[in-house]
Symmetry: C2
Subunit: 516 residues, 2 copies
């Protein structure tokens, strides 16, 4: 594919000057216009080392207003980044709506280097490319403008530019060491680059290939490609199809039992058995949490469920035995304005903890396919594609080593009514019940179908849903604790089963009495 | 001071149960009430290792709603933290208004350990305590409720608890190694603790000392102290004095020339000389930026100035030669809602880059004593104390190794008028001029006095102001570049003066022509 990029394209200094003058003015205008837009612009400048990526980014920052650009150089990875799934480092750098982010190096850099050096086989590379495609697709679907630029240089130019840079940027410790290495690797790198480009050149986020041997041609062409993409995107008045309000009632035409009908409503645990089990499971969880910490494994636990299903009190039974150094509870309400300016998954990514800690999500990304669907806050195609986006997200967590456990706390409508009325009667519980709760209750059927679809689409082998029999709070809590312990134990090799109850009871650990 | 904390206080299990029941309920109520408040609660749990800090925090998370608490365990420092001033790691963990943050370990932990082990002399400890006091004072002045708890245990109890913890938390790798060490260090640690407690026990953020040998007494007392502090703070309807609108016109009674009168209005540079100088300085800055990167030194450059003084175009001349991997430009407009929920300095702390990079602030924390003062957006006592807060902030930057350079771009009112009119005439510049600009212009005198006071209070030896003669843009840009180069060069030992002009001109680096 690169033959077409070795044709000797160049610009004379005069032509460069002439075109630069116009380009510069128009880029500034487009940038100014972009500030009013409700989508972000993400520019990727990629290519082999020595292709001139740095100088192009440099020029872009010079031509445009650097105050409206955030340039992210992906060349050093901090330990905070290494201790989270690969894409976390990019999520944290994604520009908000109305802003521009330039990535000098990107999610393509590591696959390119690893595959070139033989650390990544063809199949693994393919898997990574699929992840990349899903990631870009998601940004595109959300309205983002991605401009992907690949600079191609011949082996001669690469060597020349790496050599040439060395004395000039004499303080850059990276370039010198790389020059000879990349000269040797060039053929292999080019083969890898071809695989990567072909595998990620999708219709919605195409690659722009630039013959980059001539600096003047490279810069002007890069700038013009960006300008054209900005203008094109601005000429579309709104996001793609997804922004059009295209709601449809979620309950239409279904009148069959859902997966929730299979959750037993009559399972209970007597107080004494509950105490023994609670003690046993909490003691186990305490050890497993430390063990997971030592093994640098993270737990991501999602709690969803009906109003009044007992999420809060269940979460407290889970956190009680865990050392507070090792967990955080994250509760989601309305997004902040910074969160609204990003993709909906951004506000969950930003809360991901480093390896070796547990994060409990009290409500989660599943709001997208539950409340946002039922209340018609999000267009149909947007929540529909969320299933796939969420599976991708959780797949990345699991691939990184996180243990993902998801609970739907189920109660019957009758039990919910009983609890609502109970809350209204007791003064210190009244704050827990609002108009919204009663309103949601009227949509029980819609929610039930949304839950069914959610489970059908997102209960994966690597991150299955657990439907919790919640009518009896005691039973529910033990089920949750047991599920968590089993998941942790299994993920860590299955060598840490729960200790014998007798042994536990003689232990000094004293959980306080449950307050309900 | 610790004799009073070794009197044998304890609680019987029955008494514990009785008091716990009431405490728990009231803590939940106070926490619920706190969510409505416009201040954050910061709880510090401190003490020697083995004092039972972890179990107290554990219990607090059990008693209260863990979803409304963020517990920050300061026990491991990431490289991202080590590469920024010490307090950055705490700033990033500060809870927003309406939320509670518990610090298990805090800004006291490192001084305690270092001084105990002899790595920190008495004088250095004193300096650190002063920094801590200033930090806490600032949070207090902003309305935060700080609850500082110190758990004291005898040597016997410490040994007992460290030994005891080892088998129980068998997976915690830290405790085991520490036990014997701290048993030996106990007398020294206690002496240090006394110094720290006495040195930071201020009236507005007092220490609460708890005799912690008995677990039951320790937990109930800790909880009750927190409850009392929450209730007390809530009973005050608003923040301390500072929230009362207490404005006074800033220009009253002064009719003397200000420091700005001394800035020459007639310095100019002809086009040819400008080109030579621009080239020379930019080439120098390019090298210095890489050098600073290699030496892990950061540049923090602040750009303030009159409207139309040329901040934006000056910043572009500074960024032009710097590799885009090595700098970011941060522009400040209205704060986001997350920013408004924190101390005003938070939004600047959060943008601080890791060691070895330059951050250019297009407007900055000085807005507090400029626009917020003149427009009366902030009460008088709040912007008055900002001078000291800012000096503390910049002092921390410099102590960490940052190079702080601050520019006020000065133009005369006549020159500003000329530029305003010019902007209105040229279509592509009209967006640059707004009603606000004209309104600000009418307050020239107020701003001039605010600038004078700002320079008087914050032009320190470690972070001096540079008043830039801005009537001639060419002169201003060279002055700025030269100042930056000198500051970088001096900070790095003065061994990297600017190269000879002749040598530069033959170089291949080609700055594009300035566009104004």
């Amino acid at each position: 594919m690169f033959e077409a990029l070795e044709t000797g394209k160049f610009l004379s200094p005069e032509e460069y000057k002439a075109r630069e003058l116009e380009l510069r003015q128009k880029l500034l205008e487009a940038q100014f216009d972009q500030a009013e837009r409700d989508y972000p612009v993400i520019i990727l400048v990629a290519g082999l080392p020595g292709a001139g990526k740095g100088t192009l980014v440099h020029r872009l920052n010079e031509w445009m207003d650097p105050r409206r650009i955030e340039t992210s150089a992906i060349w050093m990875h901090s330990d905070e980044e290494e201790e989270r799934p690969f894409f976390w480092r990019f999520w944290r750098k994604l520009p908000p709506k109305g802003k521009t982010g330039i990535f000098l190096g990107s999610w393509y850099t590591r696959p390119l280097h690893d595959a070139t050096e033989g650390k990544l086989g063809t199949r693994d590379l393919q898997v990574q490319l699929e992840e990349i495609n899903a990631f870009e697709r998601m940004l595109y679907d959300d309205g983002a403008l991605l401009i992907k630029i690949w600079l191609h240089v011949t082996r001669e130019t690469q060597r020349h530019q790496l050599d040439e840079e060395a004395p000039r940027l004499q303080q850059n410790p990276r370039v010198g060491a790389y020059a000879g290495h990349w000269w040797e690797m060039y053929p292999q790198a080019l083969t890898t680059a071809e695989q990567i480009l072909l595998g990620s050149d999708t219709g919605h986020t195409p690659w722009h290939l630039i013959e980059a041997d001539d600096r003047l041609y490279r810069e002007i062409t890069g700038g013009e490609i960006i300008l054209q993409a900005l203008q094109e995107r601005a000429s579309r008045s709104a996001k793609p199809a997804s922004t059009k309000a295209n709601h449809q009632p979620s309950a239409s035409g279904r009148d069959q039992p859902t997966v929730l009908a299979g959750v037993p409503a009559d399972l209970t645990l007597n107080k004494n058995e509950y105490r023994i089990q609670l003690h046993r499971q909490q003691r186990h969880l305490q050890d497993l949490a430390w063990l997971a910490h030592r093994q640098r494994r993270s737990l991501v636990a999602v709690f969803e469920g009906w109003d009044a299903a007992g999420k809060g009190s269940a979460i407290r039974r889970v956190t009680a035995p865990i050392d507070p150094r090792l967990y955080q509870v994250v509760q989601y309400a309305a997004p902040t304005d910074e969160e609204r300016a990003h993709h909906y998954l951004w506000r969950f990514w930003r809360k991901l903890e480093r390896d070796g800690r547990a994060t409990l999500f009290d409500r989660s990304w599943y709001g997208r396919v539950l409340v946002e669907r039922v209340e018609q806050l999000t267009p149909v195609d947007a929540w529909r594609r969320a299933y796939h986006e969420i599976n991708q997200f959780e797949g990345q967590l699991v691939a990184h080593g996180c243990i993902v456990v998801k609970f739907w706390l189920h109660i019957t409508p009758e039990e919910q009514l009983r609890r609502f009325e109970d809350r209204q009667k007791k003064p210190h519980k009244q704050y827990k019940i609002t108009e919204d709760d009663w309103r949601n209750r009227e949509r029980w059927n819609d929610y039930e179908i949304a839950v069914e679809d959610m489970v059908a689409h997102t209960s994966t082998g690597f991150a299955p849903w657990t439907l919790v029999a919640g009518n009896d709070k005691r039973y529910a809590r033990i089920q949750i604790l047991q599920t968590l312990c089993n998941a942790l134990n299994q993920a860590m090799g299955g060598e840490y089963p729960a200790p014998e109850p007798a042994a536990i009871m003689s232990d000094r650990f004293q959980p306080t009495a449950p307050n309900s």
